[in-house]
Amino acid sequence: MATLTRTYQSTRKGNPLDKVRYGLKGYLVHFLLIVGLALTLMPFVWMILASFKVATEIMRVPPTFWPENPTLNNYQTILQDPKLPLGRFYLNSAFVAVANVCTSLFTSSLLGYLFAKYEFRGKRLFFGWFMLGMMIPGTLTMIPGYLILAKVGLLNTLWALIVFSAVNAFGLFMLRQFIETLPNELLDAARIDGASEWQVYLRVVLPQLGPALATLGTLTFMSNWNAYLWPMVVITKVERRTLPVILTWYNSQHSSRPNITMAATVMVVVPILVVYFFFQRWIVQGFTMSGLK
């Protein structure tokens, strides 16, 4: 009945909201939205255009908007810089991001399953600990984290960016929420058919988690790919650095040549934008439901 009324209301001509939606005000709304869109895109456009400008043009005051003699030289300069083995830094960033995605998907789903479907002594306390861990900000743990890595000799290795993030409390909460909705009958049916608990997890629970794992995976990937402070603290050897850190280092070497630094920025920023366009739905959804950034 409710749906009926609703359909009736929204198809009938006199829907009072239509006046706001499609009337003269509608044009104003669209105009405002497009202005906002332009302001959102402008820094990207400005960066991309600058990356195609030649050295003499970039130094002009006032600056030009469209490149007069568009060139790919800036990108060539970066790719051919012997002091800048870019492939290396892409690999470093990708390795750290993929490793963290794998560990956090595994531990989040396993612990999420444990907290959703099992009863055991100390469960509440254990769960509370993870909740506390989620509340404690990185400001507090950064210094001892660094000292621990120094003690065990993991500074200046990519492992330094992996060892502390094996358990992701956000992911654990998210997947626990999700797994709680799976019917117990499904799990019991597998048990009656002779599946062990691990098999239940691997063959029954995991295959149901597709969308949730995709969301968590893309969020983890992006936050690792974009991370700056922690990689800068624990890795000081140039060839072990990740992309964002190398970008600021490169910037400090070429600060008076914005065409080159903007081309470098494009090369760091664009891969994540491509990922974003493919997984847009999941990413936006994931950000809103997890409160993660």
Partner: protein, 325 residues
């Protein structure tokens, strides 16, 4: 059911319970061992702030505390309040700037995102998805990338900002390096990082507001409009009150992130000009890893952590109110 089958079922059940117990232990024990690392980290963090600590000195037998890294008790905290040394003054400047930054970003962010979300929500659905996707782009962009882009926009000679200023016939401004220029009582450098932050961040709150607006049934607004309310009244008297829980969530998240701002400031201004954009995270980073004053940095980190956790707890309290419509 015969006695023998009953026994078999019982045996099977106890086998299942044992199997489950083994699974629980198999998962919890490695996790507990791993979490010991977390306990060590937090314990060490809490201990550090009572010491004069540098990783360059050997110090005492337990975690390097004591010995040449002497115990100073609450000295760091006393210093923060009444100290006259450079680091104490810088701490107070950083705390002040962090608060200015957070309380500057929050209202401006809401003033942009809430009306914008209402506008997006009022257009047709296919466009809505496109708008939302593009407005979200800055959120997924690396903070360092954002800082690089805006650093170039604010470049005094070649930047876009000053190109616009010249077009309007005004004198160009050294956005990121003029310590004397102010606007509405805030230094121009602070404005530059606030604007950068707003741009990089507003897509997030926008998406949350859109989701919340979608959760409000059309009938409520329709009823208000039938009763003679205009769109403006409808927005303020119907929509906004219903958004209260979302508003609270958004305020808290925005504050939390603003308190911990680092990337854009470290890249764009390094805390300058004249410490006008130095924030707590930068203060902690420089003390700990540039000047090796790790005890002091841990104490500053503790203050920031208390601020951040305080906000989280207040949020949890306030969010307990249940809303229904």
């Amino acid at each position: 059911m015969s006695a023998s089958t009953l026994r078999a079922v019982k045996r099977r059940q106890s086998g299942l319970a044992a199997e489950k117990r083994r699974f629980v232990l198999g998962v919890t024990i490695p996790t507990l061992i791993y979490e010991a690392l977390g306990v060590l980290t937090i314990g060490w963090a809490l201990a550090l702030m009572f010491f004069e600590y540098s990783s360059g000195r050997a110090g005492g037998p337990i975690l390097g505390l004591g010995g040449s890294n002497p115990f100073v008790g609450l000295e760091h905290f006393r210093n923060m309040i009444v100290g006259t040394s450079l680091e104490a003054r810088l701490f107070r400047t950083s705390l002040k700037n962090t608060l200015i930054f957070a309380f500057g970003v929050l209202p401006l962010n809401l003033a942009i995102t809430l009306p914008l979300a209402a506008l997006i929500e009022s257009v047709r659905s296919r466009l809505k998805i496109a708008f939302r996707a593009i407005y979200f782009l800055p959120v997924v962009t690396a903070g360092v990338g954002v800082a690089m882009m805006w650093g170039y926009i604010f470049d005094p000679q070649y930047g876009l900002a000053n190109a616009v200023v010249r077009l309007l016939g005004a004198t160009p401004i050294a956005w990121l390096s003029d310590p004397r220029a102010t606007f509405l009582g805030l230094s121009i450098g602070m404005w530059a990082v606030i604007v950068t932050r707003l741009w990089s961040d507003y897509g997030y709150n926008l998406v949350i507001f859109i989701a919340a607006l979608q959760g409000i049934p059309d009938q409520l607004q329709e009823a208000a409009i039938i009763d003679g309310a205009n769109a403006w009244q409808c927005f303020w008297k119907v929509t906004v009150p219903l958004l209260q829980p979302t508003l609270l969530f958004v305020c808290v998240m925005t504050m939390l992130d603003a308190f911990q701002v680092f990337d854009i400031i470290q890249v764009m201004t390094q805390g300058g000009p004249n410490y006008q954009t130095r924030v707590l995270m930068l203060d902690i980073y420089e003390n700990a890893f540039r000047y090796q004053r790790m005890g002091w940095a841990a104490a500053v980190g503790f203050v920031l952590a208390i601020l951040v956790m305080g906000i989280t707890v207040v949020q949890m309290r306030l969010l307990r109110t249940e809303w229904e419509y």
